[in-house]
Symmetry: C2
Subunit: 335 residues, 2 copies
């Protein structure tokens, strides 16, 4: 793997690759306070549902180790509350924090135990990524053309990604693969992150604007669509980066199967359908400007970070427990 890890524990602090600086600069930042971790998540310096969970877990461990502002119990609770409020849609964040909370309660906030749990969450994620890749590997034969959206790769996880995991394994196996990468406005995670990590890995990719998705799928040479997910409801509806729903409609129109790659921790059986998934609204400035330059006049903006795609548009989920049909999802991942 030639793509650098987006997060690492660094003797009491958290070292991250600042994803807002890519692709222009490969900048690493040391996070040394709870607030810095929370802001890194909110500003998308660290993003991707699995990676957010890992970052939050390390954040709790760091807060416990530094024990600033009250008893260790208070410090851990404050950390969980602050980090839990950063981003509402991805469920992995809340799962990771629930595990940290349980360890905190069991050990009286023992910093070593909390760090060990955060490391486990990180390592488990890497294992889950590889299993997702194995579940999806048959979908990426030699010569495959895969379309994805946003970034669900190394930079979104603790391992080789979710949607891109089958691509990395196919590449490892010597298969030729091309990835079609929609730039993914407003924050261009496709252009800035996915194209960057694929180029670093020597995997062919072609960048398109989001409005080109449907006409690209019409060309009839796309093997499959692979996306990640930020939360999957019990019925198989899933939230992912805004634009996924339109992509899914176009894929169905052209008989290109769509697969959703995500660890089981993304499944929220407490959400009966996609309608129950909270959708984060982000700031208007993400759309009205770019790099300090205005791209629109002062007008109202609608800027949801995610959309919901109905289960009927999903061929199958690729999970760390293998390939799962939408109808089987709830019982396979029942709590």
């Amino acid at each position: 793997m030639t793509v650098p890890a987006p997060i690492a524990w660094a003797s009491g602090s958290i070292r991250i690759l600042d994803q807002t600086a890519l692709p222009v600069e490969e900048r690493y930042v040391q996070l040394t306070s709870l607030e810095e971790v929370a802001r890194a998540i909110e500003t998308l310096a660290i993003r991707g549902a699995p990676l957010i969970g890992i970052a939050a877990a390390y954040g709790v461990a760091m807060a416990a180790g530094r024990r600033v502002g009250g008893s260790v119990g208070q410090v851990v609770t404050n950390a969980i509350v602050r980090l839990g409020g950063t981003r509402p849609t991805a469920v992995n964040l809340h799962r990771a924090l629930a595990r940290m909370e349980a360890v905190g309660l069991r050990t009286g906030g023992d910093a070593e135990a909390l760090l060990a749990e955060a490391r486990r969450i990180h390592e488990e994620d890497a294992v889950m990524c590889r299993r997702i890749g194995e579940a999806g590997l048959p979908l990426v034969p030699d010569g495959a053309v895969v379309m994805t959206i946003c970034n669900a790769g190394v930079l979104a996880t603790g391992g080789i990604g979710t949607a891109l995991a089958p691509v990395y394994l196919a590449h490892e196996a010597g298969r030729r693969v091309e990835v079609i990468v929609p730039e993914t406005r407003p924050l261009l995670q496709g252009a800035r992150l996915t194209a960057w990590e694929l180029a670093r890995s020597g995997i062919a990719c072609t960048l398109i604007a989001d409005g080109m998705i449907a006409s690209r799928l019409r060309r009839a040479d796309v093997t499959c669509v692979l996306t990640g997910a930020d939360r999957i409801a019990a019925n198989g509806d899933f939230a992912n980066k805004v634009g996924t729903y339109g992509l899914a409609l176009a894929a169905r129109e052209h008989d290109v199967p769509l697969f959703v790659a995500a660890p089981g921790t993304t499944v929220d059986v407490a959400c009966p359908t996609g309608d129950a998934i909270p959708i984060e609204a982000r700031d208007a400035s993400e759309i009205t400007g770019f790099g300090g330059q205005r791209t629109a006049p002062e007008v109202p903006v609608w800027n949801p970070a995610f959309d919901v795609t109905p289960a009927t548009l999903v061929r199958a989920f690729l999970t760390d427990r293998g390939r799962v049909d939408p109808a089987q999802l709830a019982w396979r991942f029942a709590a």
Copy 2:
């Protein structure tokens, strides 16, 4: 109308509003040579299928008046060849140039006659816009929410626009209207131009990223979709700004009717279907950077300026001859 005219004949030269500078700056430029007119069209300083036709007609008249580089016949022919090669998809350009060529041949390249013809093309376009608006006015009742794409308004025509013409007439009639404006990457004509001219006109609009089109349509309050067209084939397939096809698929999914607003000059009965429409490929740099800043690593890019939407997704065409069903198109606009 509070939106400035995007083009005007100014005693021997052509005055244009430089659309690449909007919305930051309202900059006017005098075009004084054939090459300047051609470059203004190629760089999208002037754009929009009807407006390109008008600009090219004035360009021929200007070239004839200045008579630089050969006999008047050569000058007119050179102008028509150079301007005809600027952009391949819009058919209005070629129609306007064919009219100028006919006048040039008939009058021996008389500059006054050519200017009179260019003015007629300009004035006729304004009349066509208003007729399109009247054809579409019943689709925009009080309280309507209209979705469009790119810019098919004042800034794209010699009048009140094509797709936006019904909106302007509804606003004139005192109806409350809101327009949903996808920003329209890569060149952001929605954000930079449509939002700007609507804001200038006091018409409510909401800006979204292109990836939000499908989820916005899902909210079930959009009255209709109104788009322009750059070329309409005999069977009703039409080419328009890339992203229109995906928008049309999402509109059908949510039972939102899609209307294509364009003058009859946009119908090309010589094109049997959309497959015969040439699609302009534009430079990769439109997608890999913004305002001098890199937004993607060095990777291959696919950047078609237009896509083709099949006639089956069109409820009706709104033309200067009224509302026309796709099946009636060919005989209504037979040459």
